[in-house]
């Protein structure tokens, strides 16, 4: 019955665990990089010192690090949009955002590996429920009668289910192929959105009603972060999990190694940027969101249905966190770990505050700046202290321009 020598609440079981390849995520002891595992160190020029042992900067690595920084920045940019909008519109500094990103990755993993047999069925079910949700959301404005809604649902649901079947049916063999990856990302996005909407309904909306202060929202979000992170550990264990994908050889472009996953991340960022831009500038919902970020009360009296738009913010946030989570695992050599989310939190906040709270474009720009700053700073201060660069950027912004580059305005 003697107590354990360190009688501390030890929920964080993975204390000394090392994430292979995740060197930028969590500063760990220097590990010799596996060949082809992590492009930054996959094929360093001959004679380059192991990272962290010698602090002599080798400037020939700079182009590679710039690209790596861009890739990390694209993850931060995609994830940061949601954080920035939630921060700006709901006045909620969501300390659980990093954990939500990794939740997206783990949901994708869940469908890609343990549930891969049931992928078609779950795809169909999710397709149907997605359609139901979309229709219901559209109907919210149109004030249709119940009968009309039911008819619309009955017509639309089988169509989407069929579509999901068609998409899912194309996969052959085992392993997480590109197609499967797209499907599981969609599934993960749907479930992330569902989780965020449930959280909004159960916690954030009652707290908004009570006009809870910023402080209390921050503390509640810490609780959410604890629940999500430990819940993921319960479900998936404390070890590394990875998609069932072969390690591809990174192609070389102008002397810089860019893996397919990194290319995908960069392309995805461009697509997301365009989509978010069009959404915010062209659609009614997007305009309402920008109006709410500017001035919530003004938007409310101008006829914006605030509760509905808040739901839309969460939907956008869930879609983007799921996407960024999957991309994060992909560029990390398909490996994901529960603690990666929390490690993402500081860079995320740095990029959002740098870009100006509430500004999605600012968050994207800030994400790239912070990503590149972290990667290139690693050249001088060692890859294990990259997060220091994010902290320094954050402190510098807070001291010099606390309203951020974009001045806290949307667009």
């Amino acid at each position: 019955m003697r107590r354990a020598p360190r009688s501390l609440p030890d929920t964080a079981a993975p204390r000394k665990r090392r994430v292979p390849g995740a060197r930028w995520i969590r500063p760990v002891a220097p590990a010799p990089p596996a060949a082809g595992a992590w492009p930054a160190s996959a094929a360093p020029p001959a004679g380059s010192p192991p990272a962290g042992v010698s602090r002599v900067a080798d400037l020939s690595l700079l182009p590679q690090l710039l690209v790596n920084g861009l890739v990390i920045g694209s993850i931060l940019a995609i994830a940061g949009i949601g954080l920035s909008l939630v921060y700006g519109i709901l006045k909620l500094a969501n300390f659980a955002h990093g954990d939500l990103v990794i939740l997206g990755a783990f949901l994708a993993f869940l469908f890609a590996v343990p549930l891969s047999g049931a992928l078609e069925a779950s795809g169909a079910a999710v397709g149907a429920s997605l359609l139901a949700f979309l229709l219901l959301d559209l109907l919210w404005l149109k004030r249709l009668g119940l009968g009309e809604r039911l008819v619309l649902l009955a017509l639309g649901a089988p169509l989407v289910a069929l579509g999901a079947f068609l998409v899912a049916g194309g996969r052959g063999g085992t392993g997480t192929t590109d197609l499967v990856l797209v499907q599981v990302t969609l599934l993960s996005a749907v479930f992330s959105v569902a989780a965020l909407l449930a959280m909004d309904r159960l916690m954030w909306r009652p707290l908004r009603r009570k006009q809870a202060t910023l402080l209390s929202l921050v503390i509640v979000s810490i609780g959410v972060s604890l629940v999500v992170r430990n819940g993921l550990q319960m479900a998936f264990g404390t070890g590394n999990r990875s998609f069932d994908r072969p390690t591809a050889v990174s192609p070389e472009v102008f002397g810089v190694l860019i893996s397919e996953a990194q290319q995908a991340a960069l392309v995805a960022t461009v697509v997301v940027f365009l989509a978010v831009h069009l959404f915010l500038s062209r659609t009614r919902t997007g305009k309402a969101m920008r109006a709410m970020a500017d001035n919530l009360e003004l938007a409310r009296i101008s006829g914006v249905d605030v509760n509905r738009e808040v739901m839309h913010v969460w939907v956008l946030c869930g879609l983007l966190t799921a996407l960024s989570g999957v991309l994060l695992a992909l560029i990390n050599n398909n490996v994901m770990h529960v603690n990666m989310g929390l490690a993402l939190l500081l860079p995320l906040f740095a990029s959002v505050i740098l870009g100006g709270i509430g500004s999605p474009y600012g968050a994207m720009a800030g994400g790239f700046v912070v990503g590149i700053a972290m990667k290139t700073a690693g050249l001088w201060i060692g890859t294990r202290y990259e997060v220091a660069a994010a902290l320094i950027v954050l402190i510098a912004v807070l001291l010099l321009r606390p309203q951020g580059i974009f001045g806290g305005r949307v667009a």
């Binding site: 003697r2 107590r3 354990a4 020598p5 360190r6 009688s7 501390l8 609440p9 030890d10 929920t11 964080a12 079981a13 204390r15 000394k16 500063p27 760990v28 002891a29 962290g52 500094a93 300390f95 916690m203 009652p206 707290l207 009570k210 006009q211 809870a212 202060t213 910023l214 402080l215 209390s216 503390i219 509640v220 810490i222 609780g223 959410v224 972060s225 604890l226 629940v227 430990n230 819940g231 550990q233 319960m234 264990g237 404390t238 929390l342 490690a343 939190l345 500081l346 906040f349 505050i353 060692g382 294990r384 202290y385 997060v387 220091a388 902290l391 954050l394 402190i395 807070l398 001291l399």
Partner: protein, 462 residues
Amino acid sequence: MRPPDAAGPRLLAAGRSIASGAAALLRWPLRLFEGREGREWRTVVLTLLIVFALMAALGSVGAVSTGVVVNFLVGLAITACIFSLLALGLQVQFGHGGILNFGLIAFAGLAAYVMGILWRHAGRGLADAIAADAALQAAVLAVVAAAAAVFAAPVAGLAVERFRPRAPTRLKRLAVLAAAGAAAASAVSLFLPLGVTQSRDAVILLGILLGIGAAVGLAFVFAMPAIRLREDYLAIVTLGAAELLEAFYRNEIWLTGGTEGILNLHNPITERALSNDAWQGFVDALDPNLRAVPLAQLLIAFLLVLYFFLLFEALIRSPWGRVLRAIREDDTVASAMGKDVNRFRLQALVLGGIAIAVAGILIALRTSTIFPGTYERQLTFSTWVALVVGGVANNKGVFAGAAIVLVALPELARNLRVLEEFGLQNIVGPGQGVAAGLILILFMMYRPHGLVGRKEELLFGR
């Protein structure tokens, strides 16, 4: 007119007054539980009793003897004291100062590591040098005396103000000086003669002082960029800085030993408890099952918690505390009244940081080891949960909160570990975190003032 034999009534009156005095003395513990403060104390004491009864029941399941249970409870009591001190520091910083410190573990870790690094790299050599050199001995004794005097002076001042508030100021000063001098003298006598063992104790004491100094420095570093900004920014900066320090402990193996940690710290508490015959005899007389070292740890941890609790209670009731709370409520108003908002906040950060640093040092001295995993963000979050459960803006709350969240919850989880034999790996450990998170969320939503917090001083969740 008086009857010649007045002895009877006089005796009667004397007896009556003695009886009423005795009755008052007997009622005095009950009087403690009257009124608002009393009700709060009642909740805290009741919580502690329930937690420790539960733990005693848990500990006695399958225990071979009562001695095992008693020692187990002593261990839990040490944990409770240390973590209460941790939460007390956070209470001053957040509950009264309104500073959202998510890097509180950095104060504890930094202090412990400064002490450990001093011992690891210079300890034995420095101790030998002190034992050999008279000049160094004088310097060390001077430091010991000064530290003891600084430590004792506030309590002496509090006692004087409490019991002789109307005394002339010169007398008060004299009393405080005398108390400080007495403390310094007794501390110096503890280290005399300055042999090898005492020199090692002195090195550890030096490390503790340096560690507390480092924590104060950290408070200044935290305060520099962010204290004049919004609370959420400070939260992010402190969280990031704590992460960075944690990475430092893990990676700078040449300095901190990395994940292996710092082992075999010289431990004055253990050494003196084992070598002091009077203490051994006292412990044996108390209960033959008790062991000398844990009881000494408990005594020291308890005295330190008591010290900081009394100090902070007095400070919070002082004009300084009222200004601090005014700043927490509305810093614009406070600064319009001519108060230097940033200075008060910095002082709250420093004072709370000292308490947290002492708690971190106690954690290290408990096992004479320092591991990076001990000083991790998990402990920060657990302490926050304990603070919210106990009640924000009320110093008493930390005892109840720490007992529930930092003692009972981990102990329950440890007892549920048997479930892992039935194929439920990864359930119990993370389950503890999930439970802590849910407790935090539910308390924030439905009882934001916690067990004994004050609704009218609530910072959030109206």
